[in-house]
C-alpha cells in the first residue's frame, strides 16, 4: 500500500495539519501495538492494520512524496521495537534516522531506484510484520486451547483416580449437601452420584440416632476458626439398604475460591476389624499352642528328671540332682525337697537356690512354716506367704507322706494353677523316685550289715603272729560287693587265711558269702586238707546256688610251728610272700578254676616253706585292677609297694592302700589281708585272757616254740597237754568274768624246757571228778612240777629235759 502512495500522482501539500494528525494517530497506533501485541486478539490486529493502511493512504493524499518518507520509516522502527530488545531497536531507529537524512538530501526527485525499493520493500516489510503478528496470535490461541485440554484431561484423570480409589470420596459444602461422590462411594453406600449429589449427607449415610452428633462434628470441621482442619474419625455409617458398617473417615476442610468444603475419604473398616479379630484369634491360638508346647516340654523335662533320678540309687546322690532339675524344668527361682523324719517332722533333704526354711539342719514340725503347713494339710498348695509365689506339694508313696516338694518364684513371676498341676505331676514322680531310693537304701543297709557281719569282727589273737585286714567297699557302686576274707585259728596252731570274691553284688552275694564262710569253718574243723575243704565249698556252690554263682577263693594254711604254708587257689590272684632279704614273690603254684564252674574240678594244694619271719599278703582284684591297665602291671606295682612298705601288717595294709588307692575310693571292692610270723627265741613270755578260748592260742604258741627248740613230735604233744592243764587251772582260778590275764613263759636252757603258768586267782588243789585228772597228766608228762600259791595268785612251774 505504501508503494501505491509513491506511484500515485499527488499534490505536494506538506503543510497540511491533517498530516500531523495522521502521524499522531500512527504513533498512537504503533505504541498500542507495541504494548498490546502480546494480548491482542485477532480483530484488534486487523483493525490496527486497516488503520495503518488508511493512514498511509491519507498521508499519501496529504503529502508529497517527501512527506511520506517518515511514515515509511515508521514501519522498520515499529518492526524493530516489536521484535528486538530496546537497545537494538534504538540502534535501528538511529539507522532509520540516518537513512531519512540521506533521503531528504536527495528528496526532490526520488530516483527510480528509491521508488522501486520503496514499492517492493514496504509491502515486503509490512507483509512480514503482519505474517509475524498473525503467527504469534495463532500460536497463542493454540497454546491456550492446549492448556484447556490439559486441564480437562487432568480433571478427568483426577475423577478416574477418585472413582477407582478403594475408598469412597465425598465432599460436602457448608450446608452439608453432597458435592462430590465417587464410584467407590456409590459402591460402598449404595447411592449413585446423581442420586447423592445435592442431597444432605447426613440423610444419606448417617444412622438416624447419630445424626445430631454428626452435625456437630461437621460444624466443627467446617468452622474456619478451628485450627485443626483434618480429622480422623471412627464412625458407624449406614448404607442405602439400611445395613450398617464401621468406617474410618479422614475428613479435611478445603477452601476453594472462598467457598468452604469438607472433603473426606471413607473406608469400610469391617474387613480390617475382622482381620484384626482374626489376627488376635490367631495370636491367641499361637499362644495356646506355645503354652501347650511349654507344658509338653515340662512334662518331658520331668520325665527326664525322673529317669535321671532313677539312675541314682541313694537319696544322698539323688535329691540334689532332683531339686536342681526341678528348678530348671519349672523355671523356679528356688526348689527344695523336705523328707519326713520320725513323727510329724520334716527335714530339708536338698535345696537349690534361695534360703529355704530348715536350711540350718533343724527339723520343722508339721504345721511350721510353709513346708510344714503343706505336710500337715497333705494338700498341694499355691500361696504367696512372703510376697514370693510358692508351690508346695506333698510327696506321697503308697498313701504315706514321705516328704514335701517346695518351689518358689520370686516376684514378679507368679505361679499359676497350671504350674501347680505340673508340680503335682512332678511330685508324683519325685515321690516314686524317693520311695525307690529308700527301698534301695534299706536293702543296701541290710546287705551292708550282713556283709559286715560276715567279715570277722576282730581278728583272732595269735601270739607269735601279727595279722591285719582291710575291707573297702566300692565308692561308685553303692552296693555291697562279694569280696570277703577270714582268718581262722585251726587245730595244731595253724592259721587259715581266706580271701574270696563272689561274682555279683547285693543281698544275694552277701548271703552267699555267709554260706561259704560258715561252711569253710565247719569243713576246716573236720580236719580235711585244704584241697578237700575247697572241693567241698565248690560242691556247695555247684549244688546249692541256683543262679550260677561263681566265686574265686584263695585258702592259705600257715603252720608257723612247722614253718610251712599250704594253699589252694581257685581262680584267685596269687598270694604274695615276703621273707628274708628276698624280693616279694607271688606264689603261683597249682591254680584251679573258680568255684561253681565245674562239678568236680581238680583242686590241688601247693606248699612252701615259711621262714621264721615272713609275711603273706592276700588281696582281691580291686587292689590291683585299674580300668584300662594291664593286670600284670598292677601285680608288679603291688610287689614293689610291698617291698618298700613296713613289715608290720597294720602299717603294711595302710601303706598299700595309700599307695595303690590314693583317692581312697576304689572303683571295685577291695579286701586285703596280711599275716606276719614273728621269729621265736629261746625265751617267751605271753599274757592270755583268762578265758577258755585262749587255750588254743596258748597251745599254738607253745607248739611253735617247742618246735623252735627242736622238741620231738611226741615231746611237743605231751608238754602241750601238761601245760594246757596248768593253763586250764589258771583260767578256773581266775573265776568267771575275770579280766586279769594269766601269764605263760618259757625258757630253754641246755636241753631243759622250763615253763611257768602264773595266774592271779586262788589255787584250788584238785578238781573233783572229771577235772581231777589235770595234775596226774602234768605229772605224767613232765619231769618236775612245782606249784606255788600266794595271796596274789598261783604259779605252776613245769620242766622237762628233752632228748
Amino acid at each position: 500500500m505504501a508503494g501505491l502512495t509513491i506511484v500515485l500522482p499527488h499534490d505536494p501539500r506538506v503543510d497540511d495539519p491533517g498530516l500531523g494528525l495522521i502521524a499522531l494517530a500512527a504513533a498512537v497506533l504503533g505504541a498500542g501495538l507495541l504494548r498490546g501485541a502480546e494480548r491482542a486478539v485477532m480483530w484488534q490486529l486487523h483493525l490496527a492494520l486497516v488503520l495503518g493502511t488508511g493512514m498511509v493512504a491519507l498521508a499519501n493524499d496529504f503529502t508529497g512524496q517527501t512527506a511520506l518518507y517518515p511514515l515509511l520509516f515508521s514501519w522498520p522502527i515499529l518492526y524493530a521495537f516489536y521484535f528486538l530488545e530496546r537497545p537494538a531497536a534504538a540502534a535501528h531507529v538511529t539507522l532509520a534516522a540516518l537513512a531519512y537524512v540521506i533521503v531528504l538530501l536527495d528528496a526532490d526527485l526520488p530516483s527510480p531506484l528509491v521508488r522501486w525499493l520503496l514499492a517492493i520493500g514496504t509491502p515486503a516489510v509490512a507483509g512480514m510484520l503482519i505474517a509475524r503478528l498473525l503467527d504469534r496470535v495463532r500460536v497463542e490461541r493454540i497454546e491456550s486451547r492446549d492448556r484447556e485440554l490439559l486441564l480437562q484431561q487432568n480433571e478427568a484423570r483426577t475423577r478416574i483416580v477418585l472413582d477407582s480409589a478403594p475408598d469412597a470420596f465425598v465432599a460436602i459444602d457448608r450446608d452439608g449437601s453432597v458435592r462430590t461422590w465417587n464410584a467407590a462411594a456409590e459402591r460402598m453406600l449404595g447411592w449413585s452420584a446423581s442420586e447423592a449429589i445435592g442431597k444432605p449427607l447426613r440423610a444419606l449415610i448417617i444412622p438416624p440416632e447419630l445424626r445430631e452428633a454428626n452435625d456437630q462434628l461437621r460444624r466443627d470441621l467446617l468452622d474456619p476458626a478451628e485450627a485443626d482442619s483434618t480429622r480422623v474419625l471412627e464412625l458407624e455409617l449406614q448404607r442405602r439398604d439400611g445395613s450398617r458398617f464401621p468406617a474410618e473417615v479422614r475428613a479435611s476442610r478445603v477452601t476453594v475460591r472462598g467457598e468452604v468444603f469438607a472433603a473426606g475419604f471413607l473406608r469400610d473398616t469391617s474387613d480390617r476389624l475382622r482381620r484384626e479379630a482374626e489376627r488376635e484369634a490367631l495370636l491367641r491360638a499361637q499362644a495356646a499352642r506355645a503354652e501347650a508346647e511349654r507344658v509338653a516340654e515340662m512334662v518331658s523335662g520331668m520325665q527326664q528328671l525322673v529317669d535321671a533320678a532313677l539312675a541314682y540309687r541313694t537319696l544322698r546322690e539323688m535329691l540334689p540332682m532332683l531339686v536342681t532339675r526341678l528348678r530348671g524344668v519349672l523355671k523356679a527361682n528356688a526348689a527344695a525337697i523336705y523328707l519326713v523324719e520320725g513323727r510329724e517332722q520334716l527335714r530339708l533333704g536338698a535345696a537349690s537356690g534361695g534360703s529355704p526354711a530348715g536350711a540350718d539342719g533343724a527339723p520343722l514340725n508339721f504345721g511350721e512354716g510353709f513346708p510344714g503347713g503343706v505336710a500337715a494339710a497333705r494338700e498341694a498348695t499355691l500361696a504367696e506367704p512372703d510376697g514370693d509365689s510358692m508351690i508346695g506339694v506333698p510327696l506321697l508313696a503308697g498313701g504315706e507322706l514321705t516328704g514335701v516338694l517346695v518351689l518358689c518364684a520370686a516376684s514378679p513371676r507368679r505361679f499359676s494353677s497350671d504350674d501347680l498341676n505340673l508340680v503335682r505331676l512332678a511330685a508324683d514322680r519325685v515321690a516314686l523316685a524317693i520311695d525307690h531310693a529308700r527301698l534301695y537304701e534299706r536293702e543296701l543297709k541290710i546287705a551292708e550289715t550282713l556283709q559286715r557281719s560276715l567279715l570277722p569282727e576282730r581278728l583272732p589273737r595269735l601270739p607269735g603272729l601279727e595279722v591285719a585286714a582291710r575291707y573297702l567297699p566300692a565308692a561308685a557302686e553303692a552296693e555291697v560287693g562279694g569280696d570277703w576274707y577270714d582268718v581262722l585259728s585251726m587245730p595244731g596252731g595253724r592259721v587259715g587265711l581266706v580271701m574270696g570274691d563272689i561274682a555279683g553284688k547285693g543281698l544275694a552275694a552277701a548271703s552267699m558269702v555267709g554260706r561259704l564262710r560258715s561252711a569253710l569253718r565247719a569243713y576246716v574243723l573236720e580236719g580235711h586238707s585244704p584241697a578237700l575243704v575247697v572241693g567241698q565249698l565248690n560242691r556247695l556252690i555247684w549244688t546249692e546256688a541256683q543262679d550260677g554263682h561263681m566265686a574265686t577263693l584263695l585258702f592259705v594254711v600257715v603252720d608257723p610251728a612247722e614253718g610251712r604254708m599250704a594253699w589252694v587257689n581257685a581262680g584267685h590272684p596269687p598270694p604274695l610272700l615276703v621273707d628274708g632279704a628276698e624280693r616279694p614273690r607271688f606264689l603261683e603254684g597249682a591254680s584251679s578254676v573258680p568255684l561253681g564252674v565245674l562239678p568236680y574240678p581238680d583242686f590241688r594244694e601247693s606248699s612252701q616253706t615259711v621262714e621264721p619271719e615272713a609275711t603273706v599278703v592276700l588281696y582281691t582284684d580291686g587292689l590291683i585292677e585299674r580300668p584300662g591297665e594291664n593286670i600284670d602291671l598292677g601285680l608288679r606295682k603291688l610287689a614293689e609297694m610291698v617291698r618298700d612298705a613296713p613289715r608290720e601288717p597294720d602299717a603294711l595294709c595302710d601303706a598299700l592302700l595309700q599307695a595303690l588307692l590314693p583317692d581312697g575310693a576304689p572303683s571295685d571292692d577291695v579286701a586285703l589281708l596280711a599275716l606276719r610270723t614273728i621269729p621265736m627265741s629261746d625265751r617267751f613270755d605271753v599274757e592270755f585272757a583268762p578265758e577258755p578260748e585262749a587255750l588254743a592260742a596258748m597251745r599254738a604258741l607253745l607248739r611253735r616254740w617247742l618246735r623252735h627248740v627242736k622238741a620231738s613230735e611226741a615231746e611237743v604233744g605231751e608238754i602241750l597237754i601238761a601245760c594246757n592243764e596248768a593253763a586250764t587251772n589258771a583260767i578256773e582260778h581266775s573265776g568267771v568274768g575275770a579280766r586279769t590275764p594269766f601269764e605263760v613263759s618259757g625258757c630253754f636252757e641246755g636241753r631243759r624246757v622250763e615253763l611257768s603258768v602264773h595266774d592271779h586267782g586262788a589255787w584250788r588243789p584238785l578238781r573233783k571228778g572229771e577235772g581231777g585228772r589235770g595234775l596226774p597228766l602234768m605229772r605224767a608228762f613232765m619231769d618236775q612240777i612245782d606249784v606255788t600259791s600266794t595271796a596274789e595268785g598261783t604259779t605252776v612251774r613245769l620242766s622237762r629235759t628233752l632228748y
Partner: protein, 117 residues
C-alpha cells in the same frame, strides 16, 4: 573259737563219730552231747574215731569216760580209735581208758571186731 570238729556216720547199726581238731575244755561237753544225740537207741555200737584228733585234754578224757558210762547204761557198745604213739593215745593209756572201752588203731579194725561179735 572251737577247734573241734565232729562228723557222724552210720554203718548199719553202728554209729561212727569222727572227732577232729583239738578237744579241750571249750568243746568237750558240747561234743559229748552231740555224739550222744547222734547215736539212736536202735544203734548197736558207737565207734569214736580219735585218729585225726590232734589234741585232747582232761576235759576231753572226762567226756570220753562220761560217754562210756552213758552208752553202758543204754547197753550199747563203745569202741575208740586212736593212733599208737600219738599224744592222744598216750593220754588214753595213761588214764587207763581201755578199762572203759577197747582202743583200736583204725576204724576198720574196730568195725571188724564189732562184726565178729
Amino acid at each position: 573259737m572251737e577247734l573241734v570238729g565232729l562228723e557222724i556216720e552210720e554203718e548199719e547199726d553202728i554209729v561212727i563219730a569222727h572227732v577232729t581238731g583239738e578237744l579241750d575244755i571249750v568243746g568237750a561237753s558240747s561234743t559229748g552231747e552231740a555224739i550222744v544225740d547222734g547215736v539212736p537207741t536202735s544203734a548197736r555200737a558207737l565207734v569214736v574215731d580219735l585218729g585225726r584228733l590232734e589234741f585232747i585234754d582232761s576235759s576231753g578224757i572226762a567226756m570220753m569216760f562220761s560217754l562210756a558210762r552213758r552208752l553202758g547204761g543204754r547197753r550199747q557198745e563203745l569202741r575208740v580209735v586212736a593212733r599208737g604213739g600219738d599224744p592222744v593215745h598216750r593220754v588214753l593209756e595213761l588214764v587207763e581208758f581201755d578199762r572203759a572201752a577197747p582202743i583200736y588203731e583204725t576204724v576198720e579194725e574196730a568195725l571188724a571186731e564189732l562184726s565178729r561179735n
